[in-house]
């Protein structure tokens, strides 16, 4: 079993390097990606049984190249001649450094002509080396849907005229934003999923962290790449305490902090501390710093809310957004009291991005509960539960509402034995 797992890790680690070399050698990202995918599959079947070859990378390159040439034989006669000539050409004696290729590949997969959903699917397959079936399972959609998204994404890249090369320096900041966003989406898909109904998704968290580590190897000086990795580590460290046995989610305030992953917290904290001291500050670093402050507190009551509020003030300047506004209001309430928070919330609600948003109701309910106004808190938890689009969040909000529900005074003529009543 360990042999199979080791073989798989190796295959996945080599996937982007092999694809980079293949595209350099043969051209045609679309066909090369298909060819590499088939080579990975062949390796996944063969290596655990027959042992990993002496030169695994060479093995994958040879198999993928052969497949790439076969694929091109199905194309037009002109293409056929081209590829035959390419096949005769001697292989590059010294392939370009793999890390450069990996970054180029990351950026191509997160090309701005693609929707975020397609960027995620293509990145997981082309850079992560995941199969279409594995991606489909993780995202709870049929395999055909993912296959279609990937093939369409590749067609779009082709149509946009994008090449397998680093984008011009001027475009780089924007392209990096899209790439980091896609990685964060992968992480969040896995992290925010409830267990049980979505067991496969937890693999996405590990994959997002692995890919971000890979990106960091290519860009060790980039503060935001380091910030994103720290944010993932510091957030994922809480995962063991985040779910109850029945799959319901435990809010930060009620988590058993003894179950947090101390090693991940140590790594994330060290990383974000070193990065903040050296790199230009950015939104992912600030979010990681906030996560680090939470993780440092031995219990919820010990949380340094003043520091968190200061970090949210900076985040609000660096990357304003509706969710930053709401989280900043929660931090304000923790420092200056719930009434101040509620006043700020009433002002923030005027922003069209927040008007009618269920999280405004959720935050209001939370602040009203802090202020001791149980009936109003109950009403707003219920309102938030009705408006959310997330199932675990709906269950959480319903549970909060139930805790605050007024005692039942009416006499039920026929009490429902199936519904037990739990009140605190």
């Amino acid at each position: 079993m360990t042999g199979a797992a080791e073989a798989e890790n190796l295959i996945r680690e080599l996937a982007p390097q092999v694809l980079g070399i293949l595209v350099r050698r043969h051209g045609g990202f679309e066909a090369c990606e298909d060819a590499v995918q088939e080579a990975l599959l062949a390796a996944a079947l063969q290596w655990p049984a027959e042992g990993v070859p002496a030169n695994p990378k060479g093995w994958l390159i040879t198999v993928a190249s052969r497949r790439r040439i076969e694929l091109s034989r199905n194309e037009t006669a002109r293409r056929r001649r081209e590829q035959a000539a390419a096949a005769l050409a001697p292989p590059d004696p010294e392939p370009a450094p793999a890390t450069d290729d990996t970054l180029t590949l990351f950026l191509l997969c997160c090309h701005p002509s693609l929707t975020p959903v397609s960027q995620v699917a293509l990145t997981l397959r082309a850079v992560g080396g995941l199969s279409t079936v594995e991606i489909a399972r993780a995202f709870l959609v049929p395999e055909a849907t993912v296959a279609q998204r990937i093939s369409r994404a590749k067609q779009r890249i082709k149509a946009s005229g994008a090449e397998f090369q680093m984008p011009p320096q001027a475009e780089l900041p924007q392209r990096m934003d899209a790439l980091l966003h896609a990685l964060y989406l992968i992480f969040n898909e896995g992290y925010t999923a409830s267990s049980g109904s979505a067991l496969h998704r937890s693999g996405l968290v590990a994959e997002a962290i692995r890919l971000t580590r890979q990106l960091r190897r290519a860009l060790p000086e980039d503060g935001e790449v380091a910030g994103l990795l720290a944010l993932m580590l510091l957030t994922d460290a809480r995962r063991p305490a985040r779910t109850r046995a029945d799959g319901t989610l435990v809010p930060l305030a009620e988590q058993d902090r003894g179950r947090w992953d101390a090693r991940a917290i140590a790594e994330g904290t060290a990383l974000i501390t070193a990065t903040l001291a050296t790199a230009p500050i950015g939104p992912y670093q600030l979010q990681a710093a906030i996560a680090a402050v939470h993780d440092e507190a031995a219990c919820y009551a010990d949380t340094d809310w003043r520091q968190i509020l200061g970090l949210y003030d900076l985040l609000h300047l660096a990357a304003p957004g509706p969710m930053v506004t709401l989280n900043r209001i929660v931090a304000t309430a923790m420092v200056r009291g719930p009434r101040t928070g509620l006043r700020q919330l009433a002002v923030a609600e005027a922003d069209p991005a927040l008007a009618g948003h269920h999280r405004v109701d959720a935050v209001r309910a939370h602040l009203l509960e802090m202020a001791g106004d149980r009936p109003a808190a109950h009403a707003h938890y219920r309102l938030a539960a009705r408006r959310t689009l997330s199932l675990p969040e709906q269950r959480y909000l319903e549970a909060r509402a139930a805790r605050l529900a007024p005692p039942v005074t009416c006499t039920d003529p026929e009490p429902d034995p199936g519904r037990s009543q739990q009140r605190s």
């Binding site: 959903v117 993912v146 279609q148 898909e189 992290y191 979505a198 998704r201 689009l389 997330s390 969040e393």
Partner: protein, 124 residues
């Protein structure tokens, strides 16, 4: 985000359908075929099905651990679910624009409902 597009049928819509010429009816089916193909090509389709007549459905109830079925009141219900699409796309606006291509939308018989996601829990 996933969205369920529900297509209803009622006596008025059935009457309209019955009154269509063969050519018009073929146009209706074509609209469905094209929508199915487009949704599959864009990677937005998850599943779509048309449902058999409600008179063929069974209402299920469990009494003392035993499952019982009855024809239920479905046959008499005026408006019933005739088919659905489950799609995944960027926004409800996009889902609505897809749903608008369903012929029944001309008669107000198409509904778009967001599906609850198993992810998306807030941190607070």
């Amino acid at each position: 985000m996933k969205f369920l597009i529900l297509i209803y049928s009622n006596p008025v819509s059935r009457q309209i359908w019955d009154g269509l010429s063969e050519e018009q009816r073929a146009g209706g089916w074509r609209a469905y075929t094209e929508l199915n193909e487009d949704l599959a090509a864009s990677g937005e389709m998850i599943v779509s099905e048309a449902l058999a007549d409600p008179s063929l459905g069974k209402r299920v109830s469990v009494r003392e651990g035993k499952a019982m079925t009855s024809d239920g009141p479905f046959a008499e219900v005026k408006e019933h679910l005739a088919g659905f699409f489950l799609i995944e796309c960027e926004s409800i606006e996009r889902a609505v624009s897809r749903a608008a291509r369903i012929p029944e939308a001309a008669y107000g018989l198409v509904e778009v409902r967001p599906v609850l996601d198993v992810s998306g829990m807030m941190e607070m």
